[in-house]
Amino acid sequence: MVLFTMFDMPTNTKKDIKKYTKFRKKLLEMGFIMFQYSIYIRFCRSLVIAQKYEKKIELAAPVGGSIRVVKITEAQYKNMLVIENYREKPEKKLLKQTQAVLVF
């Protein structure tokens, strides 16, 4: 399972920005990687674990943002069409996380 978290948050006041950074940090703590601006993904071993993180996001969600969470299977993820990949490739990072033993 690949969990996609997409969010839009207001960044008009300092308070808003604080809220946003707090939420973003929570996402990173949960092991999400930045996929594109305000789209974060995480590889989950199973459906149960994906649901666990969904709940966690729900708890961490600040008031006044709009967040969407999507679950996608690895097969679907691999079929993604990537055009002009000028930023670092999150695909690489994700493929790494699907191995049982990570060798560095």
Binding site: E29, G31, R42, K93, Q97, A100, L102, V103, F104
Partner: protein, 290 residues
């Protein structure tokens, strides 16, 4: 798929960054979330690890193994006060009655010999002798059937010439490596459940700080033996591929309580079970089958 194992083979810089372990190898950085990690084995002698990471790893119940210059496991990371009731549990652990420990030990040895005979059966070798030994195991294994069984079993597995005390033999090195991974994995759970690894069930050596881990590992040993017999040829060396395979053994499925669980989770369940025996919440130690 189960939890991940990290195997640090190249020179790298390991640091902590909000609940993630970051592994830097020449400017290329990878992060892995703590929730996904089960074991980290640091084999490389040039790797740097920050103190923040060490303290967080021990907090997160992650099994960390460091290797020496011969690339064999030399030390593990153990947290302190991991369980809120550590003192209560350790008091109870010391006071477990001798007869009960004897019964538990008998149970452990029965399962160990049974697993050994299963390994032999899988390889189509003669296991009748081991099966006949099982009925002779008494409380606390007074006749030391364990040793008799082991002597027969290793000769049957690796040939007549084989001895476990031969440091030159490649099989021994691999067996030791595999056992070390299992042992450290059990140790981590023992500490997490507030037990003291030094006070064992049957092992009571004054020179050993991990008597209890050495007791509970017994039934798991045949899993490593099985791997070694199947995959190791005479002229092989202990290379990284073998080490990776040994780490993967923690993901092998065994039958525990008529459910399929991974070895790692099975260890956790057995340690939890032993803890509840110490606290007089349950009577029998449930063990697994291959």
């Amino acid at each position: 798929m189960s939890l991940q194992k990290l195997y640090i083979k190249n020179k790298s810089y390991l640091s902590y960054k909000h609940n993630l372990i970051s592994v830097k190898i020449d400017d290329y950085e990878t992060t892995v979330c703590f929730d996904d990690i089960d074991t980290i084995i640091i084999e490389n002698q040039q790797s740097t690890i920050t103190s923040a990471l060490l303290s967080q790893l021990s907090k997160a119940d992650i099994n960390v193994i460091f290797c020496d210059e011969k690339f064999m496991p030399s030390s593990i990371l153990q947290g302190i006060n991991k369980n809120s009731r550590t003192t209560k549990i350790q008091k109870a652990q010391i006071e477990v009655s001798k007869p009960k420990l004897n019964q538990i030990w008998k149970n452990i040895i029965i399962h160990k010999v049974n697993n050994q005979s299963k390994v032999l059966k899988k390889l189509h070798k003669n296991s009748d002798y081991l099966d006949s030994l099982i009925s002779r195991i008494t409380s606390n294994d007074k006749e030391n059937i364990e040793a008799t069984a082991a002597a027969y079993y290793f000769k049957e597995l690796f040939g007549k010439e084989f001895s476990r005390n031969d440091p030159e033999n490649i099989n021994n090195a691999i067996l030791n490596f595999g056992y070390a991974i299992f042992r450290s994995s059990i140790c981590r759970y023992l500490v997490a459940y507030g037990l003291n690894p030094a006070f064992g069930i049957h092992h009571s050596s004054e020179l050993n700080a991990f008597n209890l881990a050495d007791d509970l590992i017994e039934p798991f040993r045949p899993i490593v033996d099985d791997y070694v017999v199947r995959n190791i040829k005479k002229e092989m060396e202990l290379n990284s591929k073998i080490k990776i395979d040994l780490l993967k053994l923690l993901d092998k499925t065994v039958i525990y309580d008529s459910k399929n669980v991974t070895v790692s989770n099975c260890m956790k369940a057995i340690v939890a079970n032993y803890q509840s025996i110490c606290l007089l919440k349950c009577e029998e130690l449930t063990l697994f089958e291959l």
